[in-house]
Amino acid sequence: MIRTGSDSDLVLKPDVCIVGSGPGGAMVAARLARAGAKVVVLEEGGYHRKDEFDMQEATAFPLLYQDRGNRATADLSISVLQGRAVGGGTVVNWTTSYRTPDDVLGYWRDHFGLALTPPDLRPHFEEVEQRLGIQKVDLEDTNANNRAIYDGCTKMGWQVDTTKRNVRGCLRTGYCGMGCPVDAKQTATLTYLPDAVAAGADVYANCRVSRIEWSGRRATAAIGHLLYNEIETGRHVRVEPRALVVSGGALNSPALLLRSGIAGGGVGKYTWLHPVVAMGAFYKDRIEGFYGAPQSVASHHFAHRPEGAGFFIEAAPVHPMLSSIAMPGFGAPLQTRMGLLPNVCATIALMIDGFDPSEKGGTVSLRPDGGPRLDYPFTDRAYECFRAGMKAIARLHLANGAREIVSFHGTPLHITSESEVAAIDSAPLGPNLFAAFTAHQMGGCRMGADPARSVVSPQLRHHDFDNLFVVDGSVFPTSLGVNPMESIYGLASWASEHVRAAIS
C-alpha cells in the first residue's frame, strides 16, 4: 500500500528498495513486484490525489514541485521545474510522450559503448504506451496557443506535428502542470505504482533518504527520516535491501550518491537540461493559453543544425504566476504585458544539449544542507542556439500574423516585422540577462561502458557495486531532443530485468 507516515521507526529488509517514485522508480517497482520480489519504495514527496488539485498555482507549486517551485541553478539564471511527489514528475508534467529517438540511441552506442537498440526498447515502449494510454493528439483538439505554433511553422514550411499524450478521458482543462483534477493524466501514481502495490509492494511517502550505507562492493542500507509537513518527525528509516535502486531524478540522485561518499565516474557531471528560451507572441484575438491541453504541438525542424546545437519548439501554458516570472521587466511594462495574458502565445525553444564534445553541461554538487546545488554555465554554443531559437519563434509568429513578439531579455525586444528579427543577434545574453528555464533534467549519473567516464554500466548497475542501480533520467549520457518521460519509463522497464538478476 501507499503509506504517508508511521508511528515508529521504519526498519525493513526487502528484496529491493527503490528511492524515488517517478517514472523510473515506479516502473522498476511494478516490474519487480510482479516478478515476486518484496519491494519497498521510499519517496520524499507527499502522496497527493485529485481532490487536492485545485488548479491554483499558489497551491500546486509549493505542494508538487522541488523547493516549493523555486528550484533554480545556484545563480538563479535557470529556473528549474521539477516534480516532487509520489509519482514524481509525472504528476506535474505536460503529458508529452516520445520514444527515445533512434539517432540518440545510435549516438550513445558510438560514444558511450551502450548496446541499446530501437528493437531492444520497442516492446517496452509499446507496453508503456498501452498502459499510459499514449495517443497522438488530433489537430482539432489543440488549443489556440499550440495551433498558432502549428500554423506558423506550416506557413514557414517547417516540420511540425501534434504530439502524443498520456491521457484517458482528458477534459483539456489546461492544468496538467498543477496535478490533473480529474485523473485523466495517466501518472505513475495512477498506473505503475498501483500495479506495484497490487503485487505486494509498499510505497512510503514523506520519506527522505539522506544517504546510502555501503561496504565493499555492496550497498547495505538506505538511511533516512520520515517527514511531516516537510519537517523531520524524529522517526528514522533504515532499509536493508538485497538490491538498492536510486530513482530520485537527475538532480536528487547524484546528490544522494555524493552524500553517501559515492563520487566515482563523475557523479553530478554532465547534467543536461534542454535549456529553454521563451518568447511571448501577442495576437489581436484571444489565445487563452491557460486553457486546453498545454502542449500538443512540436516542431523538430531545427533538431539537427550544422551551425550549432539543435533545438525544438513547443508551447507552454499561460497561467499568471509562471508567466509573470518569465515575462521581462518590472513595474508598469510588466503589468501591461500581464494585462494582455489572454492574447499571448507562449512559445519555447529547447536546446538539445550534450551532443558536442566541447559541452560539459551542468554540475550537481552539494549545498551546505546536503541538497543538490546545480550550476550550468552558459557557453557560446548555448547562446548561438538560444538566439537561433528566438529568431525561429519570432519568424513563425510573424508568419502567422502576430501583432508583436516580445523577447524575454531583461530589456525586451519588441518585434513587429522581419527587419527587427536581426536585433536578437545583438541583444545581450548572460546569466540573468534573459529568462531561461528547464523542465527536463537529465544526466549526472551517466551510463556507459567505461567506468572512468560513467557512473553506471550499460545495464544501469553502478560500476563499483554489485547491488546498486540508478534508474531514472540521470543515466542519460546526453539530452534526448524530445520530452523525456516515456524514455525513462521504457529504459526502466528494460533495466528491470538487470535489477531482478541481481537478486536472483
Binding site: M55, G69, T73, P333, L341, P368, R373, R403, G410, P431
Partner: protein
C-alpha cells in the same frame, strides 16, 4: 526564495568587498524607512526593516505607473490594451506581498536566510547606492523614479551577483502577487474551470 540560492553574496570577490563596504556605512545613512506590517500576524522571517524593504520593492516591481527607468517603447500589442475595460490591478499591499513573502521564506535554511538578509541590507544601503551611481539614500527613502532606477541598475548590472539579487526579489514578488486570485481579473484570466471539473467529478460518482 530557493533553497539552492546559497552563497548569494559570497561567490565573488566583488560580492565580498561590497559586503564589507556595506558594513562600514554609518548607521545614520543606513536607516530604513519603516512600514507597519498588518496587525495580528507577527513576522516570522523578516525583521521590521527587512519587511519594509521587501514591501517597498514589491511596490515598484508591481507598479502600475511607469517612470523614466521603466518606460518602454509603446509596442503594438500594448496598444491593443487601450480601450479594454478591466478591473484595476490591486496594489501589492492589498495582496500583502511582503507578508506572504515573510511566510514563504520562514522555512528557508539558515545559510540561505542569512544570504537573503544580507542582500536586502545591501539593497537598502545608502552608501552602496551612492558608489554605484544612485542617490545617497536607502532604497526605502527614495522616490518612485529613483527606486525604479535603482532596481534597473541591479537588473542590468555588470556584477552578476546584483542581477541574481534582482531576480530573487522580482520572481518572488511576482509569484506571490500573480498567484493570488484577487489579481486574476486585472490580467484577464477567468480562473480555473472549477464548475466544469466539479460537474465531471460528480457525474463519475
Amino acid at each position: 526564495m530557493s533553497e539552492s540560492r546559497r552563497g548569494l553574496l559570497k561567490k565573488t570577490l566583488g560580492g565580498a568587498a561590497l559586503l564589507v563596504a556595506a558594513g562600514a556605512v554609518p548607521v545614520a545613512l543606513r536607516r530604513t524607512k519603516l512600514r507597519q506590517p498588518p496587525k495580528g500576524r507577527p513576522l516570522q522571517f523578516f525583521s521590521p526593516a527587512e519587511y519594509s524593504i521587501w514591501a517597498a520593492v514589491a511596490d515598484r516591481v508591481l507598479a502600475r505607473e511607469a517612470t523614466a527607468a521603466t518606460m518602454e517603447g509603446d509596442g503594438a500589442a500594448q496598444a491593443a490594451l487601450r480601450g479594454e475595460r478591466r478591473p484595476a490591478a490591486p496594489s501589492p499591499s492589498e495582496i500583502d506581498v511582503a507578508g506572504k513573502a515573510d511566510a514563504f521564506l520562514a522555512p528557508l535554511p539558515e545559510s540561505d536566510a542569512k544570504d537573503l538578509k544580507q542582500l536586502l541590507a545591501l539593497f537598502d544601503n545608502a552608501l552602496f547606492s551612492f558608489v554605484t551611481g544612485g542617490p545617497a539614500r536607502p532604497f526605502t527613502q527614495m522616490d518612485a523614479a529613483e527606486q525604479d532606477a535603482h532596481l534597473k541598475s541591479w537588473q542590468t548590472s555588470r556584477l552578476a551577483i546584483r542581477r541574481t539579487g534582482f531576480q530573487a526579489m522580482k520572481r518572488l514578488c511576482c509569484a506571490l502577487y500573480f498567484s493570488d486570485p484577487l489579481t486574476y481579473a486585472s490580467v484577464g484570466y477567468p480562473g480555473p474551470p472549477v464548475e466544469l471539473v466539479k460537474s465531471v467529478l460528480e457525474s463519475h460518482r
